[in-house]
Amino acid sequence: MRSSRPVSPRASRAWRSRLGTVTPYALLAPGILWLLIFYVVPVAQMFIFSISTGSLETGFQITYSLDAYTEGLSRYGEQFGNSLVYGGTATILTLLIGFPVAYTIAFRGGRYKNLLLFLVIAPFFTSFLIRTISWKILLGDEGPLLGPLKHVLGILPGDASLVSTPYAVIAGLTYNFLPFMILPLYVALEKIDIRLIEAASDLYASRWEAFRRITFPLALPGVFAGTLLTFIPAMGDFVNAQLLGSPQTSMIGNVIQNRFLIQNDYPTAAALSFVLMAGILVAVLAYARVLGSEQLTG
């Protein structure tokens, strides 16, 4: 190395490498700022509420009390259970309904693909609330579903009812979150090279085996994304339980909403939100683990 040069190569290299390590962070800065303002700050605020005591009138003071947690958990175990059962059932149902739909659009859609995809998201053009209320009519005691079953076919007794039962809540959740399942499934299925399925069939796999060994495993990222996009909001949902259910079918979302907006009991609401968040996080991690290892063994 020649030392007579004005700027020693070593120094310039060091400068360049320092620049190289700084640049990525500089590029990330806007994103980090965004996350900080819209995610970290509210979550921190919530956490502070959850360990505070007081009321809206007197103001909340940080007292590091965990009462909100212990009280919330001991009183609302049933609502947590409802959320898990309804949200979980609805997620499974959306998967069972969504997979054939996404599969059909991806592989048989032909030139109607875009139209069919549009139909999947078409319900979003109407308010979530209105659609859920119309399910109340659909599932009503004398509505288009139960009416004929009772009076025309005579299968059900005259006093049979769906609204205010868990079935109605699950039906509502399933309906409302179905597009969130179909779209990621479609994306995953659409990406599958049709020749892989041909290759499987060339290698003595029947249609069913080709599906089981090739199509489904390759669609797993879509299954994963779809179940998360359905399960997480379904767990926290309160609109379906409120409009289609009864006090007995309350989900944890209803409790949180009630505590926050009606009773203004911020600490308990915040604590419950945190428990819900932690619960979902644990469930998701466990799920990712199972699905991840499945993908490896195929």
Binding site: A199, D202, Y204
Partner: protein
């Protein structure tokens, strides 16, 4: 002669018309209503254990033919038999045939071992046997120790070998290969050509090989069908196709050829006279004399020797006069473009045997004599159809 392994009888395939592409021909005439005829009434017999190639330009129907043999596509009409059994409507998984796909189509989520074992597992082969057969096959394609990798971690050449192993491990009666070397660079392709041929000789399985590369087909094949527009124009071993192309298309597709309009005159012993447009007369093998008088005669560039103007040309050779338009020195040989007296361009390759310096080449502008043996002449019909040895005669 060996048994017929694959037989195609009047196989016809049209796309379009209705969504499935089936039974179109019954009610729609091709060329109207957007119907594409991919394969046009082909009769073909592939023999047991042979390396058979379908050669032709892109879009001539090679892949479609192969896919119908594999069962991925059903013919619009016609019959496909494997080892004497009608398989026209059998799904791929019920045919004793395996395919090496153009893009390999390896299963990305499975290891190399699981990829290769896929077919054996579907056929419920015992675990222990699967292990040994997969290992043997990976050795055959020179990839031992790659069992636990994923396809994404392999280079194109290695992925190609895995695709080959995955198909061959099932010991099919016929292996179908659709331009398997198309994605490899030239050097690797040459190497794989030799290796494919070795593997085929090793396992003794019938190979049906699709390619648009004439050199590749010539290197590897026992027999080649040269396809054009959904039919094949000639079927034969590489030497026959090169030395005796039956159509203008075949002559042009396999190597360079010089074609000259000629009218056939009288027969004289083993030869017939052919009168050329510039007034000269040459001799062609009498066997090429077909029913039509107006034909094109052809001669390959390396068969022609150049003599200086006025130099003595051996008596038995065909002789033509011309003028050098261009000479390209290529090291081992020199490539000349000669213009004949009636303006035809003739390509000549000459080995640089006696040349010692650039100065001793024939120079552009120089008058020369072209000479070749009558036996090196071939003939094709002037309208492009075969005069002899066409699809029916082969």
């Amino acid at each position: 002669m060996a048994e017929v392994e694959v037989r195609l009888t009047q196989v016809y395939k049209a796309f379009g018309g209705d969504a499935a592409g089936r039974r179109v021909a019954q009610y729609i005439k091709p060329d109207e209503h957007g119907v594409i005829v991919a394969v046009d009434h082909i009769d073909l017999e592939v023999r047991e254990g042979e390396f058979f190639s379908l050669l032709g330009p892109s879009g001539c129907g090679k892949t479609t033919t192969l896919r119908m043999i594999g069962g991925f596509e059903q013919p619009t009409s016609g019959l496909i038999e494997l080892a004497g059994q009608d398989v026209t409507w059998l799904p791929p998984y019920k045919r004793n045939v395996n395919t090496v796909f153009q893009s390999y189509a390896l299963f990305p989520h499975l290891t190399i071992f699981d990829n290769v074992a896929f077919g054996l597992r579907r056929r419920k082969i015992a675990q222990a046997e699967i292990k040994t057969r997969v290992r043997e096959m990976l050795e055959l394609v020179e990839l031992p120790g790659y069992e636990n990798r994923k396809p994404g971690q392999l280079s194109g050449g290695k992925a190609q070998r895995v695709a080959l192993a995955r198909a061959l491990v099932n010991k099919p009666a016929v292996l179908l290969l659709d331009e398997p070397l198309g994605a490899l660079d030239l050097k690797l392709r040459k190497q794989m050509q030799v290796e494919l041929k070795r593997i085929q000789a090793d396992v003794g399985i019938t190979f049906i090989y699709v390619t648009h590369d004439q050199e590749e087909a010539m290197t590897m094949s026992d027999r080649i069908a040269v396809m054009n527009r959904g039919k094949y124009e000639q079927l034969g071993d590489p030497e026959t196709l090169y030395e005796r192309p039956a159509t203008e298309f075949v002559a042009g597709f396999l190597g360079v050829s010089n074609l000259l309009m000629a009218s056939i005159g009288d027969r004289d012993g083993d030869y017939a006279a052919a009168h050329l447009a510039d007034g000269s007369t040459v001799r062609i093998p009498a066997t090429l004399k077909g029913p039509v008088a107006a034909i094109k005669i052809g001669v390959r560039p390396e068969k022609i020797r150049l003599y200086a103007e006025g130099a003595p040309v051996p008596e038995q050779m065909n002789r033509l006069e011309g003028q050098v338009m261009d000479a390209s020195y290529l090291g081992a040989s020199t490539s000349y473009i000669i213009r004949s007296n009636d303006g035809e361009r003739i390509t000549v390759f000459e080995q640089n045997l006696a040349r010692t310096s650039h100065g001793s080449l024939h120079q552009p502008g120089q008058k020369v004599q072209l000479a070749w043996l009558p036996d090196h002449t071939f003939a094709v019909a002037a309208d492009g159809h075969a005069t002899a040895g066409g699809p029916d005669g082969a």
